[in-house]
């Protein structure tokens, strides 16, 4: 490898309940870049995020994952997080009885009241949210924004954001997208999973996934154009047919 890679995924295969859902995925993320993964619902984007984060249910049956020059394929979620990888789930979990303040502090135990408020402000939330609970009382969009501010506080080497825009209202979307740049400027690489074109446009470089395969890699603009022109007509495809299409893409 000539170029330095932060994350290097090589040929991973993941099955769930006997079905192949990642079929020989290879990809890289460079230090400091904002990298996109596009693909329709069911393409396997979240599964890829889980496999990189190291969830045991998504352990690859073949292929390897390197991070920062180390083979992390057999590492636990905790070990990967401590090495600098984190994930903002598509649907972040709720925690009964836990105040937002305590939840955010997990990402950075040293952060004081001001830093916590700043992190909330970045996603257009007022500091009074610190006293709210991270439970069912928050709307989906509020919960997602709190997750993003917790990622910001963690200052990870690699932040994987699974559909960071979903459930976030249009007014806050600008701030959320601004946050990708803030993360990258702060030294994090960002891997964004999305099927929205404006979010895809915020990336430096993108991949396109289809039926468990990477079918395209290129500039954010080129991948987005291909996605809009080639994947849209594909909307009614059966999963088995989709696999054929993916196979025909190479």
């Amino acid at each position: 490898m000539l170029e330095p890679q932060l994350l290097f995924v090589k040929g991973i295969e993941v099955e769930r309940e006997g079905n192949p859902i990642l079929r020989g995925i290879s990809m890289q993320v460079k230090p400091g870049e904002i990298c996109g993964v596009l693909g329709r619902n069911g393409a396997g984007k979240s599964s890829l995020a889980y496999a990189i984060m190291g969830l045991p249910q998504y352990a690859p049956k073949s292929g390897r994952v390197w991070f920062n020059g180390q083979d992390i394929t057999d590492w636990s979620v905790t070990e990967r997080a401590r090495a600098g990888i984190t994930l903002a789930w598509q649907h972040p979990a709720r925690y009964e009885g836990i105040p937002v303040r305590d939840y955010l502090s997990l990402s950075n135990p040293e952060a004081g009241e001001n830093e916590l408020s700043e992190a909330l402000k970045l996603v257009q939330m007022e500091s009074h949210y610190l006293d709210r609970l991270v439970d069912k009382g928050l709307s989906g969009g509020e919960r997602k924004r709190i997750e993003l501010s917790s990622i910001y506080l963690m200052k990870p080497k690699l932040a994987i954001l699974d559909e960071p825009d979903s459930g976030v209202d249009l007014l806050a979307l600008g701030e959320v997208m601004g946050l990708f740049k803030i993360l990258a400027t702060g030294g994090s690489s960002v891997l964004i999973i999305t099927h929205r074109e404006d979010v895809a446009a915020a990336c430096d470089r993108s991949y396109l996934m289809c039926a468990g395969k990477m079918i395209l890699e290129g500039s954010a603009e080129a991948v987005k154009r291909y996605f809009l022109s080639q994947c849209e007509p594909c909307l009614d495809l059966e999963p088995s047919k989709a696999r054929e299409v993916a196979a025909s893409h190479g």
């Binding site: 636990s76 905790t78 997080a81 984190t86 836990i98 997990l106």
Partner: protein
């Protein structure tokens, strides 16, 4: 004498660290009793509250009376404990609130080093008409202990009086716990609220038995339990409300969360022995979802720390 001072300092330091009103021990305007084993290390009362305590062979025997019409402004702080690894402590008490008296009691039971220990509390509580009593008991046990904890209370509630009982054992090992609370709300419009929060680990055994008989017309009760069990611990919850008078209303609410090989049984029992009583219940036993734990691990927490964090919210 030096020993006694050391024991006093240690018990009080732990009690104050564990929440409740800090700084009441030794203060002139507070009511408190500190007992190590069967030694009363310190005790202070104020006008309107009578405390008669005697040392017995293995503990103390105390009568506490809050006189009619008296409202105790600060919580009455009781601290029972032992710093030894083995032994027993039996605390017998009779607490009486006279008519229209009002008081809040905060008890800390502290056994940081106990390995083989019996701690029994035998309490009788009598609440006079329109009195108001709240009792919070917090236990602090060490990480190794196999301590037997037997809090037994008999509570009788008069007309228009309110009893609020809170039992918390979430730090250190539970050991072998059997809470046994028996309440009779015989007064018209008397009220009962009982909350238990327990965190069992290793091979701890936690049994909570809350029984309320609503014999007073229009009396009401809420029994609430939050029990978290991990490793090989076992939990048994029995919450019973009997609506035995016209207009009596009761509810039992129990949530048990299990991890590892823990086992839980929850039995909410409601009976309406009076046709015009209304009693309801809800109970749930479940595991902590993987996504909750993994979400925290993705922030660098270990599996155990992630579980503890989730549990701290459930038991808050």
């Amino acid at each position: 004498m030096d020993n006694v001072t050391e024991e006093y300092k240690t018990l009080v330091a732990i009690a104050e660290k564990t929440g409740g009103e800090a700084g009441s021990f030794g203060s002139e305007d507070a009511i408190y009793v500190v007992v190590h084993g069967n030694n009363i290390l310190a005790s202070h009362a104020l006008p309107g509250v009578r405390i008669e305590a005697t040392e017995t062979e293995d503990g103390i025997d105390a009568n506490i009376t809050v006189e009619a019409g008296v409202t105790v402004p600060k919580p009455v702080h009781l601290c029972f404990g032992h710093l030894a690894t083995m032994g027993r402590q039996v605390i017998k008490s009779r607490i009486r609130l006279e008519e229209k008296a009002s008081a809040e009691f905060q008890a800390h039971c502290i056994f940081p080093n106990a390995i083989e220990f019996l701690h029994a509390m035998e309490g009788e509580i009598h609440l006079g008409p329109h009195s108001n009593f709240s009792y919070r008991e917090v236990h602090v046990h060490g990480p190794e202990g196999r301590i037997d904890v037997r809090p037994v209370s008999r509570v009788r509630i008069g007309e228009g009086a309110t009893y609020r009982g809170d039992f918390t054992l979430v730090e250190g090992r539970v050991g072998n716990l059997a809470i046994d609370i028996d309440v009779e709300a015989f007064g018209r419009r008397s009220r009962v609220e009982i909350t238990s929060k327990v965190y069992g680990k290793y091979d701890d055994f936690c049994q909570v038995r809350d029984i309320v008989r609503l014999t007073g017309p229009e009396s009401s009760a809420l029994i609430k339990a939050r029990v978290v069990l991990k490793d090989r611990s076992q939990g048994k919850f029995l919450g019973l409300v009997d609506g035995a008078a016209q207009g009596a209303r009761g509810h039992v609410d129990c949530t048990e969360v299990i991890q590892g090989e823990a086992k839980a049984v929850a039995s909410p029992v409601v009976q309406a022995s009076h046709p015009e009583a209304e009693v309801t219940h809800e109970a749930a036993i479940g595991r902590i979802a993987d996504e909750k734990i993994q979400g925290l691990m993705a922030k660098g927490l270990s599996t155990d720390d992630a579980i503890d964090f989730v549990v701290s919210g459930l038991l808050r």
